[in-house]
C-alpha cells in the first residue's frame, strides 16, 4: 500500500498543455478513478505518475517521498496499458515474469510468483503461448497479471477494459474490484466509461482538457455534478437539458417547463433572472394519470426497452425532447399522449454561460439517497 500525491503537475507538448496544474491526493489502499472524455489527459497523467513522461512543473510524491525525478524503474509500481503492450517476442510466462526478473530472485521464486498470479487470473493454461496466440481476453488478463506480478503497492490501470468485448468487460467489471481488494494496493484507474468509474472508484476525479473538474465519491459526482458537461457524461440515458430562466415570487424560486412550475429550493436562488440550463435525469421523470396536478403533457415518439429499464423518447408541447427512464416491469404508455411529473428534489441547475452548477458541490453536505 502506498499514498500518492500530485502537486500542481503540469505537462506540455510543444505549446499545448495536456495536463494543467493537477493536484490529487490518494490515500492508502484507495481506488481513484480518473474519468474523462478522450483527449482529457488521463493517460498522460497516468504516465506522469509512472515516470515514463516527465512533467514540466509540479511534484509527484509516493509515500510522501518526492519521486518527480526518479526513473520509472525505481518507482516500484505496476501498470497495465490500454493496448496491453505485451512484449510480442516473449511468451505469456516471460511477460508476466518481467517484474520478477529484476534483482536476485531464483528461477523457482519467479515461477511460483507467475503461477500464483496466473491462477488468480485464470490464464495458467496459456503461459507458454506467445501474445499473438492469445485471445483478446487472455491478452488483457496477461497484461493485468504482469502489472500485478510484482505485488506493487501502487497500481496504475489505463483503461484495461477498453479493448475487450462487452461480455468480458462485464465479467471483469465484477471481478476487478475483488481482485484489487485482494491485492490491497492503492489503485489509479483510468476509464471513459462512467459505469466502470462508478463501479470501481471509491473516489472519481473528472478530467476535462487537462484540468481536474471535480473530485468526489461516485454519489457526489452523480447527484451534484459541478458542471453541465459532467452531468452529461454521467448517466445513461443521458440527462435532459432545457434552457430556462429562474423566477421568484411569494411562493419561492421556480422555473417553468411547459407552463408548469417546478419549485426549487433556496440553494438554487442564483438562477433567478439568469439564463440557466435545467437538468432533469430521465429516471426522475414519472408517468402519471391524466390531469393529476402539476403534470406535463407529452407526446411519445419512441420506446426502447433495455434489459433493466425502459427508455422513452417524448416531446413536450413546446416541441422539446425529453428522455424518460423507468424500471423494466413497471407499467407506462408506449405510444400517444401521456402525462409526466418531475421530481423537483432531483433537479439540477446550471449557469448557461459558464456551464457551472449553481450549487457548489463542495459546500453541499446533505446526504441524499443515491438515486442511480
Amino acid at each position: 500500500m502506498s499514498t500518492l500525491e500530485l502537486r500542481g503537475v503540469t505537462k506540455r507538448y510543444k505549446k499545448e498543455t495536456v495536463v494543467d496544474n493537477v493536484s490529487i491526493t490518494v490515500a492508502n489502499g484507495e481506488t481513484l478513478v480518473l474519468f474523462g472524455p478522450s483527449g482529457a489527459g488521463k493517460t498522460v497523467l497516468l504516465r506522469l505518475i509512472a515516470g515514463v513522461v516527465e512533467p514540466e512543473e509540479g511534484q509527484i510524491l509516493i509515500d510522501n517521498q518526492n519521486m518527480t525525478d526518479v526513473e520509472a524503474e525505481h518507482r516500484g509500481l505496476g501498470m497495465a496499458f490500454q493496448n496491453f503492450a505485451l512484449f510480442p517476442h516473449m511468451s505469456a510466462f516471460d511477460n508476466i515474469a518481467s517484474p520478477l526478473t529484476v534483482g536476485k530472485r531464483s528461477l523457482e521464486e519467479i515461477k511460483t510468483g507467475v503461477d500464483k498470479v496466473a491462477k488468480l487470473l485464470k490464464i495458467d493454461h496459456v503461459l507458454d503461448h506467445a501474445p499473438r496466440e492469445l485471445s483478446n481476453g487472455q491478452k488483457q488478463r496477461t497484461s493485468l497479471a504482469r502489472a500485478l506480478a510484482g505485488s506493487p503497492p501502487l497500481l496504475l490501470l489505463d483503461d484495461p477494459l477498453r479493448n475487450v468485448d462487452a461480455k468480458l468487460r462485464f465479467e471483469m467489471r465484477l471481478e476487478l474490484p475483488l481482485l484489487l481488494d485482494a491485492q490491497g494496493a492503492t489503485v489509479i484507474y483510468v476509464t471513459q466509461d462512467y459505469k466502470e468509474a462508478m463501479a470501481l472508484g471509491q473516489s472519481i476525479a473528472v478530467l476535462a482538457e487537462g484540468r481536474i473538474e471535480q473530485i468526489g465519491t461516485p454519489e457526489q459526482i452523480y447527484l451534484t455534478p459541478k458542471t453541465l458537461e459532467i452531468a452529461r457524461l454521467f448517466g445513461d440515458p443521458v440527462i435532459n437539458f432545457y434552457d430556462v430562466v429562474g423566477q421568484r415570487d411569494e411562493t419561492g424560486v421556480f422555473v417553468e417547463l411547459s407552463q408548469q412550475r417546478l419549485l426549487l429550493d433556496e440553494s438554487k436562488a442564483k438562477c433567478v433572472d439568469t439564463p440557466s440550463v435545467l437538468g432533469i435525469r430521465p429516471e426522475s421523470i414519472k408517468f402519471v394519470p391524466q390531469n393529476s396536478s402539476n403534470s406535463i403533457p407529452i407526446t411519445i415518439e419512441a420506446e426502447t426497452p433495455l434489459n433493466e429499464k425502459i427508455v422513452t423518447l417524448a416531446k413536450t408541447e413546446g416541441g422539446r425532447e425529453m428522455l424518460i427512464s423507468r424500471p423494466s416491469g413497471t407499467a407506462g404508455p408506449a405510444t400517444g399522449k401521456a402525462f409526466v411529473k418531475i421530481d423537483e428534489s432531483a433537479l439540477l441547475l446550471f449557469d448557461q454561460v459558464s456551464g457551472k452548477n449553481f450549487v457548489d458541490p463542495a459546500q453541499l453536505n446533505t446526504e441524499r439517497e443515491f438515486a442511480a
Binding site: G76, A85, F87
Partner: protein
C-alpha cells in the same frame, strides 16, 4: 487466386519467365563468358557453342595471368579478401554506431535531432567526387591514405546513413508503451533497449545491415582514389584486367562471378528478412 483458369496460369508463368530472363540474362551471359577464352568470347556472331574451360578461374586463384604478350601478376584473391574485410568491418562499425543513434533519433526528439538526422542522410546524395579531393588531401596529411582504417572510415558515408534511417523507422514502429511497460516493471533503459527494442527491430537491423553490406561491397570510387593495389577491393581490382595486350574479358567475367557470389549467397540467406524488413519499413509513413 484459387479460381485461376489454366490459361491464366500459363500466361502468368510466361510473364514471370520473361521478367526473369530479362533481368537474369546479363548475369547468365557473364557466367558463360567466365568459362570461355577471349577468342571464343569475341567471336562474331556470339554463340553459346563452346568448349568450357576453367583457366580463367585458375588464373585468378593462382594470381598468374597468361596473356599472348606476357605473363602478368595479379592479386585478385587479395582484392577479394579486401572487399570482405572492408565491407564486414564497415558494416559492423556502422551498426555499432548507427543502431544506438537510430534509437536516439526515434525515441528522443531533442533540439536539432531532425537536422542531424537529415545531415547524415545528405551524405547519401552528395556526389562522392565532391568530397573525394579534399578528403584525399586530408588523408595524406593524416596518414590515413591507403589504410584499412581510412577506408572503413570513409565507408561510413555509405553505410551509416542507410542503417540509421532504415533502423530508425523500425524503432519508431515499436509502440513506446511496450518499452514503458518494461521500464515500469523495473528495468533500466539500457536493458529495455537490449531486451525489447533490439529484438523487435531485429529484422530491420538485418535488412539494413545487408543493404549496407551490398553498397559497401559495390563501392568503387572511394577505394579507387584512396587505396593502392594491396588495399583495393574487387571492384577496383577488376581494372587490372585491362592490360597492355588487351582486355581480358574471360578473367573479368570470372572475377565478377566470384565477387558477386558472396553477396548473392548472403542475400539469398537473408532474403526473408530483406523483403520483410524493407516492405515493413516502406509501409510506415
Amino acid at each position: 487466386m484459387e479460381h485461376q483458369s489454366k490459361l491464366e496460369t500459363v500466361l502468368r508463368g510466361a510473364a514471370l519467365l520473361l521478367v526473369v530472363v530479362f533481368f537474369m540474362f546479363p548475369i547468365f551471359w557473364i557466367f558463360l563468358m567466365s568459362l570461355q577464352t577471349n577468342e571464343t568470347i569475341l567471336r562474331v556472331p556470339p554463340s553459346i557453342n563452346f568448349e568450357p574451360t576453367l583457366r580463367n578461374y585458375k588464373a585468378l586463384i593462382t594470381g598468374k595471368l597468361e596473356t599472348s604478350a606476357a605473363s602478368l601478376e595479379i592479386n585478385f584473391l587479395q582484392n577479394l579478401w579486401n572487399s570482405v574485410f572492408l565491407s564486414v568491418a564497415s558494416v559492423s562499425l556502422a551498426l555499432l554506431l548507427g543502431v544506438p543513434a537510430a534509437y536516439a533519433f526515434a525515441r528522443h526528439k531533442f533540439k536539432g535531432s531532425e537536422d542531424i538526422a537529415f545531415t547524415l542522410l545528405s551524405f547519401r546524395f552528395a556526389p562522392p567526387l565532391l568530397v573525394l579531393l579534399p578528403l584525399s588531401l586530408y588523408f595524406q596529411k593524416m596518414g590515413l591514405a591507403n589504410t584499412y582504417l581510412g577506408l572503413i572510415w570513409v565507408y561510413q558515408l555509405i553505410c551509416l546513413p542507410l542503417i540509421l534511417w532504415i533502423v530508425r523507422g523500425y524503432f519508431e514502429d515499436i509502440s513506446p508503451d511496450i518499452e514503458y511497460a518494461y521500464r515500469v516493471a523495473g528495468h533500466s533503459w539500457f536493458s529495455t533497449f537490449r531486451k525489447i527494442a533490439l529484438p523487435l527491430a531485429g529484422p530491420g537491423i538485418a535488412a539494413a545491415g545487408l543493404l549496407a553490406f551490398i553498397f559497401a561491397w559495390n563501392n568503387f570510387i572511394f577505394a579507387l582514389v584512396l587505396a593502392s593495389a594491396d588495399k583495393q577491393p574487387v571492384t577496383v581490382g577488376a581494372l587490372a584486367f585491362i592490360t597492355a595486350s588487351g582486355i581480358q574479358y574471360g578473367q573479368i567475367a570470372a572475377a565478377i562471378v566470384m565477387s558477386i557470389a558472396p553477396t548473392l549467397a548472403l542475400a539469398l540467406y537473408a532474403q526473408k528478412y530483406l523483403v520483410e524488413g524493407l516492405s515493413l519499413g516502406a509501409v510506415k509513413g
